[in-house]
């Protein structure tokens, strides 16, 4: 032990300990305070506190956890509650870092953690209540893969992708990108939380998928980066969080669900199942999305994101269903239930998001909370 202590001292002797503490606490450039438009008492109180450091802001959150409990107790639908989902989105941002993530000292603050856990408890319970119950497949890789393919096949209701391919206007394509940007500018990140928590062949499979998501060593090929390029071409701002104020609670809930599954080790099965379902319902719709952009005169630069996913996700779905979800179920059968839950939750919530967008468009309305500024100056 003394050797270790000596080594530590050696490292710390390189600089003044006090200075180092201060330097470590200093937010990185870009770790800005969340400055979204509040949607109710919780997001108002939370963002006011997170604009400061825990030393000054903790007092502002003295009554926060009881307030969270009260709102959770009275909400009609936690999944579509604007105030709750924005507060949860902000609480997850503290863990992700970057724009809107607040001072990193908040990350393990007991009050923000307690608030997040309280919301997650009700959010998860509601998801489990509403996800359709079905018989589980045997905990064998090929059986789990077959069951997941069957789930994905059944998930073919009124299709947003076909509407985009055939009918959507240019303004609706812009809206579609705004809706998508909440997750896609962080594409793959929520599932990466699972990497250190998973072992063996399932880990190798997850890393194989994620490495491709992150561009296979080429930053310009990172899926989030390719998507940012499409946003720019349609006149949108690709800075993270630029359109949080524009999207409804359900869009935030779809991303919050992934963050919850990814950040909680007890939900490892659910994040694996989520990724599998996501990949298995991607390659065909992305062909249609690309067709919609081509129909309106956009070139290969703008459709690269969708074209990339046609090819990539035809690979990823095979790895995700058999080598990731299937192997995980075979190696840890107790996770089977949550693997199927995660997959069904993905299809259910993202199905609702697509239904809401379609319903708004069918009645001649915008699917956004408020119209996105810009977005109509891109050249086609």
């Amino acid at each position: 032990m003394s050797d270790v202590e000596g080594l530590d001292l050696g490292v710390f002797n390189a600089g003044d300990a006090d200075t180092m503490t201060i330097a470590t606490d200093k937010p990185r450039e870009g770790d800005s305070a969340p400055t979204y438009e509040p949607r109710g008492p919780l997001s108002t109180q939370l963002m006011a506190a997170l604009a400061t450091t825990p030393e000054t802001g903790e007092g502002m959150l003295a009554s926060f956890v009881p307030a969270v409990e009260r709102v959770l107790g009275s909400t009609r639908d936690v999944i579509r509650d604007e105030d709750i989902q924005l507060a949860l989105f902000v609480l997850y941002s503290v863990h992700y870092g970057g724009k809107g993530s607040a001072d990193p000292a908040w990350e393990w603050n007991p009050v923000t953690i307690a608030a997040r856990v309280a919301i997650e408890k009700v959010f998860e319970r509601e998801l489990r209540l509403r996800v359709p119950v079905a018989a589980l497949p045997p905990a064998k890789a090929h059986s789990v893969a077959a069951a997941l393919f069957e789930l994905a096949r059944e998930d073919s209701g009124p299709s947003l992708s076909q509407y985009v391919a055939r009918t959507a206007s240019r303004e609706q394509l812009v809206e579609f990108l705004v809706q998508k940007s909440i997750y896609t500018l962080k594409e793959a990140d929520p599932h990466s939380w699972a990497i250190p928590r998973i072992t063996g062949r399932a880990k190798a499979a997850l890393v194989e998928i994620q490495a491709d998501e992150y561009g296979g060593g080429r930053a310009e090929r990172m899926h989030s980066e390719i998507f940012a390029g499409t946003m720019r071409l349609l006149g949108l701002d690709p800075a993270y969080g630029a359109y949080v104020d524009n999207v409804p609670a359900l869009t935030l809930a779809s991303f919050n669900m992934m963050s919850m599954f990814g950040l909680n080790r007890r939900l490892l099965g659910a994040i694996a199942g989520h990724l599998a379902a996501f990949e298995m319902t991607s390659s065909v719709p992305n062909r249609f999305y690309g067709n919609g952009f081509r129909r309106l005169g956009f070139g290969p630069d703008a459709t690269w994101y969708f074209d990339e996913h046609v090819e990539a996700d035809a690979v990823h779905e095979q790895i995700a269903c058999r080598d990731l979800a299937g192997s995980l179920a075979e190696d840890e059968p107790r996770l089977l239930d949550d693997i199927m839950f995660g997959a069904r939750a993905c299809l259910m919530v993202d199905g609702w998001v697509a239904d809401d967008i379609r319903a708004a468009w069918a009645s001649g309305k915008s699917s956004l909370r408020r119209a996105a500024p810009g977005g109509d100056r891109g050249a086609s």
Partner: protein, 67 residues
């Protein structure tokens, strides 16, 4: 290494060169690739998931279960 995915593509891991019949090298954008074997893909030789739309089967259907 090639994995024959049930009712799906051939998953290829490891370095391979792919050429068209006229000798042009076909560019590969990722380390692991999926090659179409249902014949319906719009991005051949790569898979685009179309096998799911045409119910492509690599095995004969299982006989009806008898009670």
């Amino acid at each position: 290494m090639i994995v024959a995915c049930p009712d799906g593509p051939l998953l290829v891991r490891g370095e391979v060169d792919i050429f068209s019949t006229t000798g042009e090298e076909i560019q590969q954008n990722r380390k692991t690739i999926a090659l179409c074997r249902c014949g319906v893909s719009t991005i051949k030789p790569f898979c685009d998931g179309s096998h799911k739309l045409v119910n492509f089967r690599t095995e004969p259907p299982e006989p009806e279960a008898t009670t």
